[in-house]
Structures are given as structure tokens and as C-alpha cells.
Assembly symmetry: C2
Homo-oligomer: 433 residues x 2
């Protein structure tokens, strides 16, 4: 039922007209947001899972019957609905570019139509967050970053799936416990300002926390005055050393992070604790991190929240789902502004360029990106581990032309070529239209 009503009206109309021929839809991104030079595919495995468990429950059937829009025949069709088709898709963590199918669905027309909203929703959200995270990873160079986005994500599912996508994109951990539980992503977190204020003093708060969680002590030092907080951290570190407790790091979450990191580093070093690391958080994104590191801010790791989880500078992607073949006949939309590439395709990746070709065109030498994921409504391969997807993303980013591993656009885009076979098909379909 995570579907737009028009998917149902269209499907009902197809059923009514006996139009249950096999159709193929491509899910792809039309254009890159201006601030992006590549995208990281994510959510593909979740989309496949969603297809595998597709069904319309009785309460939904009752609701739809009550709308008095659908006839008994269509409601019976929905009651028996499951996904019976084929899916080809790129792997989680793969880099993709506009017009390249991320996922291709081949199924009886009404079935393929009904899943449009759901598939776009899942893939666009996670691809958006994974792509943003990959940029944060580029900005971080050799430092690590953690996903802190849960609270400002767009609802609970966005927090969870956002943590998943951020991990694929390069976050080493998340603050969201549920993402740890369900996905095995490392979880991390220490204390908030309110924790510090509930104790008599900052020192008391630091002591209580360190004694309770001695294995991984990170003290939040900016509740009152950051430099004072750093000095208190030094004192507590000295004091607890005799108990065998080490302070791993301090976190700065507000103020002029560059200046504060410098002075805190100096206080920690002078205090005899060069081993205590500095974590920075608070309104961070790839631009701010790049700026801090360009200015040699002595920050060891970053917590990145709101702007990562909402992909704040590009909070949506133009993901679409277009009919490309029907009853064995290639299709395309003719309107000039929103044309799409017809036919069933394969994307071949070469060194620093891609070729989008018809699936049956022979293309030697490249690496095909679309792989069979479902056949007859069943997975043909198990979902991979997220760390495998993370590693795929890491390697794919490394193989990008260096001009694309930057945060601001303006460079020549990645070269994506269209095969002769597709060009011939476009000419043929355009003449026919």
C-alpha cells in the first residue's frame, strides 16, 4: 500500500483491458544535482526485499473496496498479488550516473506498474544519503566520520535506512542503536550537554561517565566553556589514570571548531595527554570538514548529522521509473523534455567511461554493472553484507577520474556513452511517433 493511487488505477485499467503482457521498467536518475559529480547506488537490496514480500493485506483490501473505485475482479487480483517478475540491478555501493538503470523490473504490466512508488522511494532515499556520505568521506581524507543523523532524519524509517546508506557511503559507525541491532553497523556515542548539567560540576559528570564506561571514554567539553572543559578533561585523565581508566577523546560540538580544536589540542598536549583525540561535531558537512582540514584543524574524527541524513544541499534525486519495453517491443516517451532511452539495457564500465547499450548488443572489454537479482519473483543471490557494499563504494570512488573526486562541480562530467543500438532504436521510435 506504499503506492500512489494512480498505480492502482492504472493497474486496474490494465487488468480490465487484459493488458497483462510482460513489461520492463528502468529505474534511473535523470540528472545529477549541481553539487554532485557521481552517485552511489544504495537501497537496491531493500528494494528487492520489498518486492519479495509484496502483498496486499486484508485491511488494505477492505479500505480499497470502500473507496468504491475498484471492481471485484481487480480486488481479487490484488488479494492474490505477489511479485512474479525478474529484477536486474547494480550492486549496492556501485557508482552510477544519470540515465544508467540502477534497477530494471520485468514483470506482467500491472505488477510492474504497482511497485513504482515503492521502488523509487527506497532507492532514491538511500542513494541520496550514500552519495552524500561518499562526499563526506572524500572531505575527511584519512580521518573517520560517524553518522549522527537519526534525530533530524525524516522520520524513523529515514533514520534507520539513512544510517544504512551512510555506512555504505563511508561512515564508520552510527549513533542509531536500531541500525546497530538490525544491520550490524558499529554504534557509538557518549554524552549530551544535558548529561553534564545534571551533575554538580563538569568534573563530576566526566568522572561518573568514565567510571561507568571505562572502555571508550569520550568527554563532551563544550557545555560551559570549551577551554575550561579541556583543562577539566586533563585533570580527570590524570586522576583516573591511577584507576587504570584512559580518556580516549574529547568532543567539541559548538563554537568556532577550528579555533577551539587548536586551543584544546594545545591544552591536552601541554597537560601531558597527546594521546587524547579530538572529535568535532555540530552542523558539519563535507564542505565544512574540507575547510577545517585545509586549515589544519587538529581533529581526529567527525560526527556528521543533519546535513548528511537529509542530504541538505540536495535533499532529493530525480529518480524515475520508465517503461522501456512492452510485449517485447521497445518503448520510449516522446515528449522532448523528458525523453528516456528505450529498450532493455546493460551498462558497461570501462576505464573512466561507461557505455549504455542494449542488453543483447555485444560489447567487449567493459565490466557489466547490471546483474540478475530476482527471477520468477525470487532472489537469485543473497543480499551482501553492508561492509562488502562499503568496500565496493571505496574502490569505485578510488577508480573515479580525479576531477570527479571533488566537492564542487564545474568539471567535465563523467563520460557516459550511448550505444549505436540504442541510437538506432531512438531514431526508429522517433520516426514512428
Amino acid at each position: 500500500m506504499v503506492t500512489d493511487l494512480y498505480e492502482l488505477t492504472m493497474a486496474a485499467s490494465y487488468i480490465q483491458a487484459g493488458m497483462e503482457q510482460t513489461a520492463t521498467f528502468d529505474l534511473f536518475v535523470r540528472d545529477l544535482p549541481t553539487q554532485r559529480s557521481f552517485l552511489v547506488a544504495a537501497g537496491v537490496d531493500d528494494a528487492v526485499d520489498a518486492l519479495g514480500s509484496l502483498q496486499v493485506t486484508q485491511p488494505s483490501l477492505d479500505y480499497l473496496a470502500g473507496l468504491e473505485v475498484f471492481n471485484a475482479r481487480f480486488l481479487e487480483y490484488l488479494a492474490d498479488l505477489s511479485f512474479t517478475g525478474q529484477v536486474r540491478a547494480v550492486r549496492e555501493g556501485e557508482i552510477v550516473f544519470p540515465n544508467e538503470p540502477i534497477l530494471e523490473v520485468t514483470a506482467p504490466l500491472p505488477e510492474a506498474q504497482l511497485v513504482e512508488t515503492l521502488l523509487i522511494n527506497i532507492v532514491q532515499h538511500q542513494t541520496m544519503v550514500a552519495s552524500k556520505a561518499a562526499r563526506v568521506a572524500i572531505a575527511c581524507r584519512d580521518r573517520e566520520f560517524v553518522d549522527f543523523a537519526a534525530r533530524r532524519a525524516h522520520g524513523v524509517d529515514a533514520a534507520l535506512k539513512g544510517a544504512r546508506a551512510a555506512y555504505v557511503g563511508g561512515a564508520v559507525a552510527t549513533s542509531l542503536t536500531l541500525a546497530g541491532q538490525l544491520y550490524g553497523i558499529p554504534v557509538t556515542g557518549t554524552m549530551a550537554h544535558s548529561y553534564v548539567t545534571t551533575f554538580e560540576s563538569e568534573r563530576e559528570a566526566f568522572r561518573a561517565f568514565a567510571r561507568r564506561f571505562p572502555a571508550n571514554v569520550v568527554l563532551l567539553i563544550d557545555t560551559y566553556d570549551t577551554d575550561r572543559g579541556a583543562r577539566v578533561a586533563v585533570q580527570v585523565a590524570d586522576e583516573l589514570a591511577v584507576e587504570g581508566i584512559a580518556i580516549r577523546g574529547v568532543r567539541i560540538d559548538s563554537g568556532d571548531l577550528e579555533r577551539l580544536a587548536q586551543s584544546v589540542r594545545s591544552i591536552l598536549d601541554t597537560g601531558g595527554h597527546p594521546e587524547i583525540e579530538i572529535f568535532a561535531s555540530g552542523d558539519l558537512d563535507e564542505y565544512r570538514i574540507a575547510e577545517m582540514l585545509a586549515n589544519d584543524a587538529p581533529v581526529n574524527a567527525f560526527g556528521v548529522g543533519t546535513r548528511l541524513g537529509t542530504s541538505a544541499d540536495a535533499p532529493y534525486l530525480g529518480v524515475v521509473y520508465k517503461l522501456v519495453e512492452e510485449g517485447g517491443v521497445p518503448k520510449m516517451k516522446h515528449s522532448a523534455a523528458k525523453a528516456n532511452l528505450p529498450g532493455r539495457k546493460q551498462v558497461h564500465r570501462f576505464d573512466e567511461q561507461d557505455l549504455i547499450a542494449l542488453v543483447d548488443e555485444e560489447v567487449p572489454g567493459g565490466r557489466p554493472l547490471l546483474e540478475l537479482a530476482m527471477e520468477n519473483g525470487r532472489r537469485v543471490r543473497a543480499a551482501e553484507s553492508l561492509s562488502a557494499a562499503q568496500e565496493r563504494r571505496r574502490q569505485a570512488v578510488e577508480r573515479l577520474p580525479p576531477r570527479l573526486r571533488v566537492l564542487r562541480g564545474g568539471e567535465a562530467p563523467y563520460q557516459v556513452n550511448i550505444s549505436d543500438g540504442i541510437r538506432a532504436l531512438i531514431d526508429q521510435l522517433t520516426d514512428a511517433g
Copy 2:
């Protein structure tokens, strides 16, 4: 488990230290995004529901135990956890401003701490979307708009809760079937471009659809050429009139919407169908709609998707959750950059200004916004209907100073005053700090 790990580590530390005294936290927005002059509170009832069903399941307990961070005492605490506190909150659809508590939680400290991430997540998302929708409603003047955001929302929950919030903010309907089923929001939708292309001709597609769904026929006319589509719609309207089927409207989803709406209106009128309405969709938001209506575009209703559901020009709000009282003692964070108002509060709304006061200060004449929603962990009032919330928003927007019912900022902000009682408390706490 929709919680950041640090909520758990803090709560564990409180339990360990026997710090289970009553604490009060305010949930509020720190600043308005530059493009906003007011916010519409939404998600409050969902937040209350989430508190009412708070529990930690066995799989979650097993996961947390496996982290080897928490001791048996804390895990037992979590196993028995339910929300036992009090909640005061503004009503769904109420207008709010920065620093005004939207929701106030009073509960034993660890409990109140644990729910921070969840409450912020729910309220920030829906308040963000409802606030955006209220702006779209202002731009639409006397026209209606429908939420089309499901596919580009950040995941499935964002689509559903976004439809809810958009309705509170002013959408008359949604395309998302699940939102109709669960919330009773009117659902609407017709066809996609792919539908048109699956038929031999546009005319065949229009005929099939109108005959199948004669009650509410809206034809998508821009698949090939919009003007031609309008002429085909006229022919189909004439043809089906003899069958007693009326065409209610045509939809334009691409191209220069103003120019196309003009020419389509002319084609429909010339063709003898002034009663056929024009619906516009495609990359719309309040700015674009205002522009179209300023240019007298003959559009009767709008479908607004991506930019509404993601609140694209302001994709997050600075919602925070701050300790304001603990063990009967007012609290505030001292760091200059992020100070908050101490003490338990009431917000009093007067004609074109608000006063934030302490809860026990006598303030005659205003309308108090915070109402008791939960006591001892139980709802003290049933959740309202969404249409009541929508009506509250409508009236509240009408009562705003006209300078705030605009789309671009720059005008004097709404006047929010701080009471003498709160000022005295700040002075006292600042001196003490």
C-alpha cells in the same frame, strides 16, 4: 531502539548513580530557517503515541547485552521500561515560533533522556512538512493542492507521515494510498505517462481510463505534445458524453506550465469544454505556484510533490530537546552560543504576539498553548481528527500578522516576549554559574 546510543549510555550512568529524580525537558525549535516566518506544529500526537507504546523488546535487549557496555542492572531497567511521565504539548496544527516549547516531557531523568532522539525525530519531520505545506497553501490562494510526494520522500515512513503533515498544513488530498487507509486522508490520482504509452494511441488510453473510472476522469495530456493532448481530450470528452461520462480535468506535468495552461485553456474553451479543469504538477513548490498565479495561469489545482515532502528549501529544522528543570530546580545550559530558557513554561498567545512565561506565573488575557497530553504515562485526551488539526492551522494562519503570510522573509519576525519570571531565573542561574 530508535535512540542514539548516547541516550542509553547517559541513562545507564544515571541509573548507576541513583539519579532517578524527576526531570523536565523542552522540545523546541532554536531558529527559523531563513525562508520561514512561522512553523506549524505537527507530529505531536504521534510523539505521544510513541511514548505510550515505549518498550524495549527482547531482541533489542539481547543486542544491547551483546555490546558488553551495559550492566545487568541497566538491562533489567530497560526490560521493565515504559513511559510513566507527564507530557504537555501544543495541539497539532498550532502555529509555533522559536524557543516556544512544542512538547514538554516530565519524567524520571533516565526515562526522559531515553526518548530524546525519538521525539525530536517525529516532531521535527512532521513540523517541517506541515510548515512547508502551509506556505504552499498561502501561495495557492483559493486553489487547492494535493500531496504527490510519496516517491521522493525519505523512505516509507517519511512518505506516510509526510502525507499526514501535508494534510495538516493544507493539502486537500494525497496520492499515497496507505495514508488514505491509515489516516482517512482523501486519496487521489489518475495516470502516469507510461500508461499513455502502453496504448496504441493517446486517444485509446484516454478512452480506456475514462470508461474504467468514469467518476473522476483526469487525463494526463503531456505525454507526447501537450496541445495535441488537449485536442484529443476535447474529442474524447465529446465522444464519451454520449455514454454519460464527463471529463473532469486534464493534467499537465512538464514543460512551460504557464504557457501550456494558457493554450490548453483556450483549446478546451474553444472546443466547448469550459468545465474541464486544468491541473498542474511537476517540480512545483510555493514559489513556483505564486509565480504562476501572479501571471494569471489558468490552473485550477496543483499537485505538489518532491519539494513539499522533502521541504526542499529547508530540509531540516533545528529542533532540540533541552533539560529545563531537574529535581524541582530550574536548569539551563550556559554556553553562550546555545543557551536555552530555564524552567517549566507556558506559552501565552495574544493578538499578534506571544509571551513565554513560567508555568506558575500569572498571565491574564492570553490563550495558553501547552495543554496536558499525558499523565502517569497515559494519554489524558484522545488524538484529534486530522481535519480538526487542519482547521486549527487554517485559522491560526489567518490570524497571523499579514506581513508573515508571505513566502520570502525579511519582514519583522513575529513578536515573542520572555516573561519577567524567566528573565529573573536566567539572571539568577547565570550568576550562579
